[in-house]
């Protein structure tokens, strides 16, 4: 069973996405802030990370940068799912090594699950 780490501080959103991914057959774990995310990446060893950007304690971009600079974790595909839609933000995340960038309010749960599947196939 493939494991997905959901990094999301809003517990309503994490509950929804958690439900959708579980129903799709993935094993999930939720991290609620940036620091929590970095700890759980090491312990949980996910196959994919779904990462929010606006997070307490450590920003999503910093989390992404650390994951991508650590040789143990840098190969884990990261999909950014956020409410931020500034071009500069997209550009920075892609530059840091994000596999995809999605604006949450534009995506249904089904579409996100589909993107997760695609990213895991490669």
């Amino acid at each position: 069973m493939q494991k997905i780490l959901i990094v999301e501080d809003d517990n309503i959103l994490s509950k929804a996405i958690n439900t959708a991914l579980t129903q799709a057959g993935y094993k999930t774990l939720v991290a609620v802030d940036g620091k929590d995310a970095l700890i759980k990446v090491k312990e949980f060893r996910p196959h994919l990370i779904l990462l929010d950007l606006i997070l307490p304690k450590k920003s999503g971009e910093d989390v992404l940068a650390e994951i991508k600079s650590n040789s143990d974790t840098k190969k884990i595909p990261v999909l950014v799912a956020t409410v931020k839609s500034e071009l500069a933000s997209i550009s920075r995340c892609v530059g840091l090594g994000a596999r995809g960038y999605f604006i949450k309010s534009h995506y249904t749960l089904d579409e996100i699950v589909a993107e997760v599947k695609k990213a895991l196939k490669r």
Binding site: D10, I12, L13, A16, I17, T19, A20, I54, K75, P77, V83, K84, S85, E86, L87, A88, I90, S91, V94, G95, R99, G100, Y101, F102, I103, K104, S105, H106, Y107, T108, L109, D110, E115, K118, A119, R122
Partner: protein, 533 residues
Amino acid sequence: MKSAPIPENEKERLVSLHNLGLLDTKPEERFDRITRIATKIFNIPISTLTLIDAKREWYKSCQGLVNHHADRAISFCGHALLSKPILVVPDARNDDRFRDNPMVVNEPYIRFYAGVPVTSADGQRVGVFCVKDTKPRNFSKNDEEILKGLAAWAEVEINSGNLILAINEGEKLRTEIEKSKATNEAMFTSIADGIVCVDRNLKTTFINKAAEIAIGWDNKEVIGKKWPEVIMLATEDGKSVPPKERPLYLAIHGEKIIRNVYLYTRKDKSKFPAAITVSAVRVDDKIIGGILAFRDITKERDIDKMKTEFVSVASHQLRTPLTGIKWFSELLMKSRLNVKNKDYVKQIAVSNERMVRLVDDLLNVSHIETGRKFSVALKNIDVIPLIKEAVKEQAQIASAKHITLDFSAKARQKIILPMDELKMKQVFQNLINNSIKYSEANTRVEIGCDRKTAETVFYVKDSGIGIPKRQQKQIFSKFFRAENVFTMHTDGTGLGLFIVKAIVEAHGGRIWFESVENKGTTFFFSLPIKLIK
């Protein structure tokens, strides 16, 4: 007796005569002096300065006659009027034209006549200067010369009245000009925008109060100085503007009205953004100077920034709960619901989508966002077939305009890069389509790529109309369209290049161009070559 013929241009002649304003006025010493001198020089009883109107001859000055006018039909002067340079009648009794003239057979019994026409400033013969005697006379060449001289003097006096009129008109005009100048200055002074006037050499001739306050320089320090020496001008990103690209210079050299934003440097070296409008001052189609109006837009910029920030924060805050409603409606739809309940949930979802779009629109207006549903999903893809497809799709439009699309890839060459396939295709389509749109028939559009160590550079090159230099900075702005595209009658939203730039930058790439007006444009963009593992 023969009456004098009427001159051909009688109508114009009469207008000139009346314009002199001398007819039926009182005698004046400046004319009487001349006729008096004539009688003394020639020792002759009669001398007149005669003006000839439609019906009569009338004497502006007269020596030796009781009546001050006579019927034109019997006028000696009427004949003289048509005789340039002089009419001399030594004895009227021996002249068929005058022998039975009432003035010859009755009082005042004229026998001798000599007259020289006098001309108004606009060249019309308006009258005659003459001498008459009751005895026949011989008139020598010398006498003729003297009479001509006196006539010339009379002519000067006749026209000097006009000169005075002209001086009066000039005085009136000067007052009018002074008045309008004062009005203009009062207007310029009371205007809240800075106004600066320069002459053809860019020397400052006027600066209003608002401009003085904005730049910190005093009127007296600035007038007579060249404006470029007063104000340092820089573009908004801080690059100083070369003298020949400064707006006033361009206006004086014939560019139409120019509007732009520049950074101005005050006397105390502080800087501020100024929105300026510049236009040339033309007199008879000749440029004699320029006018610059400017406004300090620091406050507007601050407010704009605050507004953008507010909208941005508020919208992002709104997106989170909207996403919650969206996702739970979706989950609810999949749960066991009866038809009615499903419909209710659907209504919630539809309303929610409307709200999502409203937030998008709010962010869109603030100009910093990508717009609706912008995202990237990267995959390692061979870009060659993608370009080929884009070229194929534009081929029909190109051939309709007789434009050759030229993309040559080496056989079996592969360029694999991480990219969002659909989005990157959109980039090629947009750039190729633009090149076709802004090219003339029978030209070539070349598409190519160049592999470098850290990135791959793609280019689309045309020999089209180019982008005007002044507008090159704005080319990637939302809704921007260059001035010269309107003459091509092509449609366009001004969104294409904005989107292209957004996509390229979302891939971590850069986009730039080289363009010369009427020569062509090449767009370049780079993509990082680091693959996804």
